[in-house]
Amino acid sequence: MAAVLSAPALATATTPASPGRRALRKLLQRKPAVIGLVIVFTFIALALFAPWIAPHDPLATSWGAIRKGPSVAHWFGTDEIGRDVLSRVVFGTRASLLAGVVSVSISLLLGVPIGLIAGFVGGVADGFISRLTDAFLACPFLILAIALAAFLGPSLSNAMIAIGISATPIFVRLTRAQVINVKVEDYVEAARALGNPPWRIAVRHVLPNVTAPLIVQATLAIAAAVIAEASLSFLGLGQQPPEPSWGSMLNTAKNYVDQAPWMAVWPGLAIFALVLAFNLVGDGLRDALDPRQR
């Protein structure tokens, strides 16, 4: 009898899962997304604990071990001045992850408020912002990043700023489109009827309802930013030598492909794995946050 009574009581006591928790559960049900998450967290751990994980100093040269193949002492081999490739790949994770996260944060910090203003205010402001965004989008991403990095000067921080600014128009356009859809919803009308000022409606009622596609785009943009950082470092506009970066390692390695292919294989594989992981997570998030799949 007690069991019969407790069943409805339990049913009423169970509160529905929050949208975030529901999305996380759906994300964890997708095998590719879980694999992506595992790889991303592995790279985050590598970046955080690099000094303890790396077997050698990434900057220490050894004239007795120039371009040595993989061995017990150097698992991934050594480079053209005897530096340990494994240690440089491990420390290079820091530059790539930092560039990915910081540049996407810059894009979000710039793009979301501008897109929110354009979509919510409309009129002349929208027209001006939209045309400016179109002008930026007309320029290919990497060309714009190279041009900005050239004007700012070659360094990792400037590369991150350049990538962040180059990726901003995508977030402006996405936020604007989402805000235009959301601002005509009944709950926004209700918030207006209650006497909320426009900025409060935009920040408290509209913005939280446009975050799902922004999270997905941000995850995919991190993957693009990792590639862009590697590309800029490859060209000599990102992380400066002797600091390790996957892109600059590939640039050096291309001169020794015949004699020491391991110099190129490992940083290339690291870029490949990290970008693939972020893409898998992004695709998983897109499915998990899609309201049509509820």
Partner: protein, 171 residues
């Protein structure tokens, strides 16, 4: 990402078969055969990058088109599956691919920067990078302007092509 995967592929070839792709550029008008030999590797890398995007879009569009009524009608008429897929579904699914193809040409302009650098092809990508290191900002501005204009023109051609292949848009 495909670019890096392609690079890995060549590095693996170099490692195991001791073969590297030709890394010297030959002008097409002077030595067409040698130029083709040196160009097929960068072309394969850049084409591989785009083929992944096209394949993904075509897959999703085909799934959508195969659910349409006219496909069901074609099957009901007794057409074989090959004819249904190739003549009725694929032709309709190719419309967004044309748009994407034109836009991806714009992406190629930036994607080619690294490839041109590796294979020493004197294109826009190499020009902008060389200008950056020579602090020749006028050339950098010029390249950015020309690529942006080319990108806009390609978008316009994509829209026009969309109208040309989709009779429903002509009104």
């Amino acid at each position: 990402m495909t670019r890096y995967f392609a690079c890995e592929y060549w590095y693996t070839l170099a490692a195991f078969f001791h073969w590297t792709p030709p890394l010297r550029y030959h002008p097409f008008w002077e030595e067409p055969l040698t130029a083709m030999k040196s160009l097929w590797v960068p072309a394969l890398i850049l084409g591989g990058f785009i083929s992944a995007v096209v394949m993904r879009l075509l897959r999703s569009t085909m799934l959508e088109v195969l659910r349409q009524d006219y496909v069901r009608t074609a099957r009901a008429k007794g057409l074989n599956e090959r004819s249904v897929v190739l003549k009725h579904a694929l032709r309709n699914a190719l419309t967004p691919v044309i748009t994407l193809g034109a836009l991806e040409l714009g992406t190629l302009l930036s994607g080619a920067v690294l490839t041109e650098q590796v294979f020493t092809i004197p294109g826009f990508g190499k020009l902008i990078v060389d200008s950056v290191f020579n602090r020749d900002y006028a050339v950098v501005q010029g390249v950015v302007l020309v690529t942006a204009t080319a990108y806009v023109m390609l978008s316009l051609f994509a829209d026009l092509a969309y109208f040309a292949v989709n009779p429903r848009l002509r009104g």
